[in-house]
Amino acid sequence: MSDLPSDARFPESGRMPPGSARQIRLAGIWEAPPGLRGWVSTVDHKSIGLRYLVTAFVFLLMGGVEALIMRVQLARPDATVLTPEQYSQLFTMHGVTMIFLYALPVLSGFSNYLWPLILGARDMAFPRLNALSYWLFLFAGIFLYSSFPFGQAPNAGWFNYVPLSGLEYNTGPNIDIYALGMVLLGASTTVGSANFVVTLIRMRAPGMSIDRVPVLVWGTLTASGGNLLAVPAVSLAFFLLWLDRQFGTHFFDVLNGGRPLLWQHLFWMFAHPWVYAVVLPAMGIVSDALPVFCRRPLVGYTPVALSTVATMVIGFIVWIHHMFATGIPALALAFFGSASMVIAIPSAVATFAWIATIWTGRPVFKVPFLYFAGFVLLFVIGGVSGVMTAAVPLDWQLNDTYFVVAHLHYVLLGINVFPVIGGVVFWFPKFTGRLMSERFGKLTFWVLFIGFNLGFFPMHIAGLLGMPRRIYTYSGDMGWNTVNMITSIGSFVFAAGVLMFLADLLWSYKRGPVAGDNPWDAPTLEWSVSSPPPPYNFATIPVVESGHPLWEERLFHDDPSRARTQLDEGLILDHGREALATRALDGRPDAILKMPGDSYAPFLVGLFSTLIFAAMLLHVWWLALAMLAGFAVSLTAWMWPEAPLGQREPKREPRGETLG
C-alpha cells in the first residue's frame, strides 16, 4: 500500500439514518440550488432524466398531431386538406420527430433517471456531460423545428435521399436545417452514449457484477455501444450533404462523379442499428418490470441479456435490407436478407422468456402488466412482418408500401411506446411519490390497444393492395378507401388514449395516492430508496449480492446466508459530492470519485454549439466565430481545475479534517 497517493483515504463504513445530522448535511451537499439558477445548472441525473422524458413526450405529441393531420388528409380519396408540399413536410417531420426526438430520447430519459438508482450509484459517471447531452437534445429539437412555422421544414423524408434532398431539387433552407440539426443531435447522442458506457463500467455498486445488472441496463448499454458506432455514419452523411449543398462539393453529385447510393449506404448503416437502439432498452424495461407483476424473477436472464447484445451485433449487418431495390447483385442481397431473418432468433428467445415468465409466475393484473403483456403480442406481430420484409423477393413487393408502414409502427409503437407508457406507470411512484390511477389506467390501456390495432393493422392490408408510402392522396378506384378510413378512425381512437394517459398523469401528479418506497414490491435497488429519491440517491453505498436485492430473503429462504445484500449500512462518502468507482467485471470497490458540482457550463456549451450551427445555417460567419469563442470560454470554464474535484491544491484547511 506504500504506492498509494498521499491524499488516499479509506472511507468509513456505517449507517446514516434518515434525519440524522450527517444525512441532512449529505442532502445539502447534493441538492441543486433553488429556483431558475438550480434549474439551469443542475447535473442531477434524476432531473435530467425527467426532463428527457417530458421533452420526449412533448415531441411525441407534436409528431402525433402531425400524424393526425395526415390521417385526415388520407381518410378519403382525392382529399385536399393538405397541399403536396405541406404533406411532404408533415410526414418528414413526423418521422424525424418520432424517431430522433421521441423514441431514443424517451429511453435516455428512463435510463438517465434509473441507471444510477438501479446500479446503486450516486450519479452518472459524467454528470455535466449528462446535462450537456440533454441541452443539446433540446436545442437540436428546437433547431429542427425552427423552420416549421415558416412552412420550410425538412421535406424529403426522414431518410432524406439525395438527389431529392440536394440543392438542385430542394433550394430552400429545409434540408440545411435537417442536415445541421442532425449533426447537432448526433453530438447529444454520442456524449449521452459514452456516458452510459462509462457509467456501467465504473459506477456500479460494490458486488454488482455484470451478471447482476438488470436487463434495462443491458439494453441501454447495447444501444449506447451501437450508437457510438452508428452515429458517425449519419453525422458524416449529413455533413457531406451540407457541404454539397453549400460549398459545391460533389460527394453525392452525379454529374461530377458522386454517387446517390453512397447516401443510402451511410444513412442505413446508421439507421438500422438505430432501430435496435430505440427498441432494446424498451425491451429491457419489459424484461425488468414484467417479472415484478409475475411475482418471480425473469425466466432466462442470461439468454435474454445475450440475445440483446446479439440483436445489436447482427443489426450492424442488415442495413442493405432497406436497399434491396437499388440494383445490388442478388448474391449480396441473399446475404443481407439471410442476416435479417436470423435476427428473429434472439427475438424469439426474448419472446419465449417473457411468456415463460408469465406462465410460471402469478400475474398480477395491474396497469403496467397490461402494457407489458400487450407489448409481447405487438412485438410478435411486428417481428413476423419484419421476417416477411427480410425475404428479398417478397420485399421487392412489400418495400415502400403501407405494409412497411404497418410493420415499423408495430415495431416502434408496439416495442417502444407501449413499454414506455407501461414504464411510466410503473416508475411514476418513484418519479413523483404518487401512484397513477388503476381503473382509469386500465381503461386507457384498452383504448390505446384497440385504437392502435384498429389504426395500424389495416395498413398491412393497404400495403398488400399496393398502396405506396408517402403519397399525399390517392384515387378512389385503387381499392384503398375502406382501409384508409379505418386507419384514420383508429388513429384518432389511439390519440384519445394518449390524451387519457396524459390526463391521468397530470391528475395523479397532484392527487394520486401516496406510494411509499416500493409500492409494487419490486426487487431492484431503485425501490429501496424513498419516492422520490433523495438527491444523493443512497445515503450509504449499498453492497449488492444478487440480481434481486429486495427479494433475496424470499428467493433464498432455504439458504439465508445468500441474502447478503446490505442496503442500510455501507461506505459513507460525504466529503463533498463523492461517488464510488468499482471495477468493470467483478464490481469491487476501486476509488472514490469526486463528482462535479452544478454548473452553467453544460447549458452554455450546448447553447453556443447550437448558435454556431445557426450561424452556419445562415452563413453569418462572424457570428459563427463569435459563438465559437463563447463555446471555447464555456468549455474552459467547464474544464477549469477545481479544488473540490482534487484537480487543484486544496485551500489550506485545519489538519485532520479531510484525510482519514
Partner: protein, 329 residues
C-alpha cells in the same frame, strides 16, 4: 387499332389494380406471390400460437397465495429451449424457400428478345423502344409501355433527376431508377391485359401521381402497335388544326416533342401518338379530349407543383389546340 382490342381485356376485377397479394400475371411475380402466401400463413400461425400461449399463460388458473409470496420452482428455461428450438428450423426453412424464390425471379429463364429503356422524370415515365438494329424503328412514348405476352422483356431503368422506383406489382417487384446508373429489371406477362405501375420511391411533390401502365398484347398486336408508333402522325390540312399546331409550337414545344414537327422539347412526355394512350398526366386522367384540355388549363390544380404549368387559353385557342391534338393518333 390494337388499343381497341386491349381495352376490352382490362383487368378491372377486384378494383385494386396494384394488388399483388391476390394476383400475379407472370413468372417474375408468380413465385413471389406463392412465397407471400406461405410466409403470410406461417406468420399468421406464429401470431395465433404465440397469442394463444400468451393468453393461456395469463389466464390459466393458479392457487391463491398472498401477493408477498414469490412464485417458486421451475426456472422456465425449457420454454426458451423448446421455443427457440422450434423457431429456428421453421425460420431456416423459410429462408431457404425465400432464397430459391429469389433465384427464380432474379433473372428470366430465357434471354429477353426485347429491351425497353425507361427513364423516370419528375413525375412521369419516358419509354424508349431503341434496341432494334434499324434506327428508323426506334420511337419514344410516355407512361404507357406495350409488351408482347408470353416472353420476358428486359427494362433498362434510368433517372433524369431524382431516385424513382419502377414497379408493376402484378408483373414483378420493384427496382429503383437511380441517376448516374442503369439498373435492370425484367418482367413477363402471361396474359394480355393492362397492368398498372406506380413509382414507389418518394420523389417529391407529385410522387402520388406518377403512375403508368403496361399493356400486354399478342406478338402480332405488339408489332402493329410498334410500327404505328414509329411512324410520324399525319396532319390533315385544316385551318383549325394548323392554328392549333402553331399554338402548340408557341406554348408547348419548349418541353414536349412531336416527331416530324419543330416541337423537340425533351423535358416532358413525347406527344407524337398522344391519342393512342389510355391515360394522361402519368396515369392520373383518362385520355379524353375534355381531359386533355382540363389538364392543359388546370395542370397545377390537378397535380400541384408538377412541372406542367396551367396554361390559360381563349375559347378559340382551346378549340384549335384540341383539333390539333386530336390528330396525334
Amino acid at each position: 387499332m390494337p388499343l381497341a382490342g386491349v381495352a376490352s381485356q382490362v383487368h378491372v376485377g377486384d378494383g385494386a389494380p396494384l394488388n399483388y397479394f391476390l394476383h400475379a400475371a407472370g413468372p417474375a411475380a408468380g413465385p413471389t406471390l406463392r412465397l407471400d402466401w406461405v410466409f403470410t400463413a406461417i406468420c399468421v400461425a406464429v401470431c395465433v400460437i404465440v397469442g394463444g400461449l400468451l393468453s393461456a399463460a395469463i389466464l390459466r388458473r393458479r392457487p391463491d397465495v398472498p401477493l408477498h409470496q414469490l412464485a417458486h420452482g421451475t426456472s422456465g428455461l425449457r420454454w426458451i429451449v423448446i421455443g427457440a428450438g422450434l423457431s429456428v428450423p421453421v425460420l431456416v426453412a423459410m429462408l431457404v424457400y425465400a432464397l430459391f424464390t429469389l433465384n427464380q425471379v432474379a433473372t428470366p429463364a430465357e434471354t429477353p428478345a426485347l429491351t425497353i429503356t425507361v427513364t423516370a422524370y419528375d413525375w412521369w415515365w419516358k419509354v424508349a423502344y431503341d434496341d432494334a438494329p434499324d434506327a428508323s424503328a426506334h420511337f419514344v412514348t410516355a407512361n404507357e409501355i406495350h409488351i408482347p405476352t408470353g416472353e420476358p422483356v428486359r427494362f433498362k431503368l434510368k433517372s433524369a433527376d431524382v431516385i424513382h422506383t419502377f414497379w408493376v406489382p402484378r408483373l414483378a417487384g420493384k427496382t429503383q431508377a437511380i441517376p448516374g446508373q442503369t439498373n435492370e429489371q425484367w418482367l413477363q406477362a402471361d396474359a394480355p391485359g393492362v397492368y398498372r405501375g406506380q413509382c414507389s420511391q418518394f420523389c417529391g411533390a407529385q410522387h402520388a401521381h406518377m403512375a403508368f401502365e403496361v399493356i400486354a398484347e399478342s406478338r402480332a398486336d405488339f408489332a402493329a402497335w410498334s410500327a404505328e408508333q414509329a411512324r410520324a402522325p399525319d396532319m390533315p390540312n385544316d385551318a383549325a388544326v394548323t392554328a392549333g399546331k402553331a399554338l402548340f409550337l408557341d406554348k408547348c414545344a419548349g418541353c414536349h416533342a412531336i416527331r416530324g414537327t419543330d416541337a423537340q422539347g425533351a423535358q416532358a412526355p413525347d406527344l407524337t401518338h398522344l391519342n393512342s394512350r389510355r391515360l394522361i398526366a402519368a396515369g392520373t386522367l383518362s385520355n379524353t379530349a375534355q381531359n386533355q384540355l382540363a389538364w392543359i388549363t388546370g395542370a397545377q390544380r390537378i397535380k400541384p407543383d408538377s412541372l406542367m404549368p396551367s396554361i390559360a387559353l381563349q375559347r378559340d385557342e382551346a378549340a384549335s389546340l384540341s383539333a390539333y391534338l386530336a390528330t396525334l393518333k
